[in-house]
Symmetry: C3
Subunit: 395 residues, 3 copies
């Protein structure tokens, strides 16, 4: 138990002020707060491996609201909530009465009388997803203050138009493990690059999340994409500021090769240009199906000009000793496997397949840590209590 005690002690020593707060963007949290969440995730993972139950709730509801399809985040959220003792109730807007002009403020309160956490995926509309989460958070704050709600549920961003913090934090947890500690990430070169995909309209949240988070820990972050495939300008500014503050670097280019050169880590992934996402948002709102079809056609034609943005064996040779760590949020568009031509060559993906699975495997623990740190004023004390009670998770 010494390793667990040490970890709990580490958690105790971080300066964190995240109790009672939502997790919406990584750059709204201090470095210490992010480190605490990583450490809590590690502690929960360790406790589970030691068969120590981490049920901090004997009863309680967790609400999931997915406005876009999801497999791994849905299961990660369910698993995280279950690990803490919460039961998930899905808010299926199709089966609800929400369409009738009900306000967000009202819905947020109605689903929260006995709820401890609300996880939301809302990544379809540029300018809307994160704003919606904030609106929910404010409604909950108000409901709690007005004694409508006996507790203030925490909102967890399960992917929005701006950030995908449960993904980027899981990625960071994996890098921490892979490189043997956060301090070892200092100076490491990470290439966050666009990659070709035969589909279009992929959210910007992953690349934005990566450049917004990895610049916090002194890494050399390189963003590369074809001309026109820009991210949201505000997030670029965040990345620049972060890099300056953490002693890292943040550079941009239109060359995959340049980004891959001597990289320690590569993260090649497709996304739709910021401007396209804006047009798409307008068309979705207007329910202009013909417009959407036309936009898709135009974009796919444009994408097709950049089929060489593929993470091939040749490209991998450009990286440090030809052995950069390949990362992906999954599912990847794998050439010859899931599509004719895609983001990554099959041989490259296959070599790193198990690593990408391990990367994904951190997500349930990260989500559970986000919940625990938001809902418990002294997470170290809570974890200590669990350790001392030592209830078996499995008999």
């Amino acid at each position: 138990m010494e390793d667990l005690k040490a970890l709990i002690n580490e958690i105790k020593n971080y300066q964190a002020n995240i109790f009672g707060k939502d997790f919406l963007l990584t750059w709204e949290k201090s470095a210490d707060e992010l480190k605490q969440i990583l450490a809590v995730a590690d502690a929960l993972k360790m406790m589970r491996s030691k068969n120590i139950s981490t049920r901090v709730y004997d009863s309680g509801i967790a609400v999931s609201l997915f406005r876009d399809n999801s497999t791994r985040t849905r299961f990660s959220f369910s698993s995280a909530c279950n690990l803490l003792g919460l039961a998930v109730q899905d808010l299926d807007e199709g089966k609800s009465q929400i369409a009738h002009g009900e306000t967000v403020r009202e819905t947020a309160n109605m689903i929260s009388f006995l709820s401890e956490v609300i996880g939301i995926r809302d990544d379809m509309y540029l300018g809307a997803g994160n704003a919606y989460m904030r609106e929910v958070g404010e409604a909950l704050e108000d409901g709690y203050k007005q004694n409508v709600l006996p507790q203030r549920p925490a909102v967890v961003n399960l992917q929005c138009d701006i950030d995908h913090p449960t993904q980027s934090m899981a990625d960071l947890a994996w890098l921490k493990e892979h490189f043997g500690g956060l301090e070892n990430l200092k100076g490491k070169k990470i290439a966050m690059t666009w990659a070709y995909s035969p589909s279009y309209g992929k959210p910007l949240s992953v690349p934005q999340g990566i450049i917004g988070l990895m610049t916090r820990f002194g890494m050399d972050v390189r963003l590369a994409h074809p001309e026109g495939y820009n991210l949201i300008p505000d997030v670029i500014d965040v990345a620049k500021k972060n890099a300056a503050e953490s002693g890292g670097k943040f550079t941009m280019s239109n060359s995959m090769d340049e980004a891959f050169k001597d990289a320690d880590i590569v993260y090649p992934k497709s996304w739709a240009p910021y401007a396209v996402m804006g047009r798409r948002t307008d068309l979705l709102r207007a329910k202009d199906h013909d417009g959407l079809k036309a936009l898709e056609k135009e974009c796919l034609a444009n994408n097709a000009k950049f089929k060489d943005w593929e993470c091939t064996e040749e490209k991998m040779k450009l990286t440090r000793d030809g052995k950069a760590l390949y990362m992906h949020c999954l599912p990847a568009d794998i050439t010859g496997v899931s599509c004719e031509a895609g983001e990554v060559a099959a041989s490259v993906f296959d070599r790193y397949r198990i690593e990408t699975y391990k990367e994904a495997g951190y997500k349930p623990y990260i989500i559970a840590a986000m919940i625990l740190t938001s809902k418990f004023a002294d997470p170290a004390a809570t974890l200590s209590k669990l350790m001392q009670q030592n209830t078996e998770r499995v008999k």
Copy 2:
């Protein structure tokens, strides 16, 4: 803990014979039984606020069957079941094999081998919803007696064609809190009135539930609606009989103003006329989409004649000191917010918004109390046991 002990003592002293019985209509329960349920709901709420776990089940299934859309009742039912330790399994008739001419008797048994409660919403077909619940209840009774089922699941009416008891009981719990006790409701004037809405086909269960319940406790209940917007005659008879027995009053009129005059409480809400619901039921059964469209058109045109049935600031001035308590089951059709012209003026709704949320907040506890009193022979003893064990709900 003295307040909790007093409450448990109160629960003990009620003469109740609801163990093993379904909750289908409030008027099938005695006043003492309803009071016991209110007190159990209060006790569960108090225990939760004191962080005492109310899990009476270490395992067990609760079945939800929603034949109509639902947000707040769905979440209330989930929350109630979770509070008692039950896991909800939804019976989605679209994903089941039920269409194949399977009998209600069979389905009821098949979903109940390890189930403790079945919550049903079935409010679309006049003459059918409550009857269906009874059919399920009889099938369960039979299955239990024949040793098919090791326990008899309780059926809870989550809204039918006749009553909406989880709503009306939550409303009553809220009135009990607001006015400082049930005895203070004696003589209070409550106006249950129709109100204009741009939609049609709203169930009759809420107004019927309100006049059927509030007449039990000596209130002066005034039902008002435009000519033709009648409720089910049998329920009117119930309300009359209740008022006579409880020393209250029950009057009907076609004037919103008359009903609002000096009212202590107003509950303005749209519904479809009884006769229309009957025609609608026939058309739904016949899957006559054109007929349904025509009926909708006719009804909306008729509704439009009564746009002045809106709970405006002027109307509110008619009430006692201009300050009657506004109630609604939510979501309300708010003029200028959720529709152009609706049931209530935005300024009125906004002034009472938090109150309507608190009203809604009782529903999970009411449902949990209905389950507990139906499944546990001595609810006071069960609650005492929970109090003594004093397991933390949240660590």
Copy 3:
């Protein structure tokens, strides 16, 4: 508690090697292993009746994947998982990103980070369902070995193209109860016969499951169907081999009367011919809706030639003393109730209705026993521990 102790002792004495293994086909398990599962199911049922909690998991996820509609198996799986303390998370392929060419290997890992069991129904495509389950199992094995997964989830076959083991094992548990022990099944005549139904495309898994399992215990198993309504030849071979090994009998005929003659048990049920299921599989894969319609028409016309394959009172008179036990996996096509002409006469079905419900009632316990024996190395020790802890399931 003596009866429970005796049962646990029985469980201890079976030679079983099923720990860590999936349950995909009954004929992949030894007779002792099947007996152990039956005994564990009985023990779980007995413990529940004695109000002893059987939660072996304080937290943990169970995944359900239904590629075909299901009511009773869905509820049985949920109930079984809940009985052991697991929360069910449904994998709804329509709401996931699985369509994007993601590999089975990847999905299997992504949903399993904190999962203990995966229940799968996949019975639409001949040659595919069981193969899919194996692919999932291999992916999980690989993920576990490569440290992607902290535990190896057990796969439970909730019906495939070949077998329906949770059904046939529940049927066997029911026969064990009804005839007072497995040893009493020796020599008992069971008629597994085709029966007429106005629908088509019913899976082969039930008749195949029955002849594959009941031949294990010395029964005289008679398969009868109209010419052309063959089952998968491999399964016929399995049944022959089983009968030879167990000292039982396995015969085939094209006469319902012959099969019913002196039968102790009859199991009349419709299915589609093997060859038709093959053609149907091709058409489904090709999404050939016209082809499917044509095939349906052809098959229904063919079925109609065999309307006399109905379990009537006359047919029942052929059985031992006219009192064979009627069995069905439900829902049955009952003449005059769920269809004009079907598998069974209403009077016959009604006489055995309660028995068929009891038969179905074993399914949750059988599934729970399959999970427990796959996940716990020493199920007798685990059950002993539960018995000694004696936690109340219901307070």
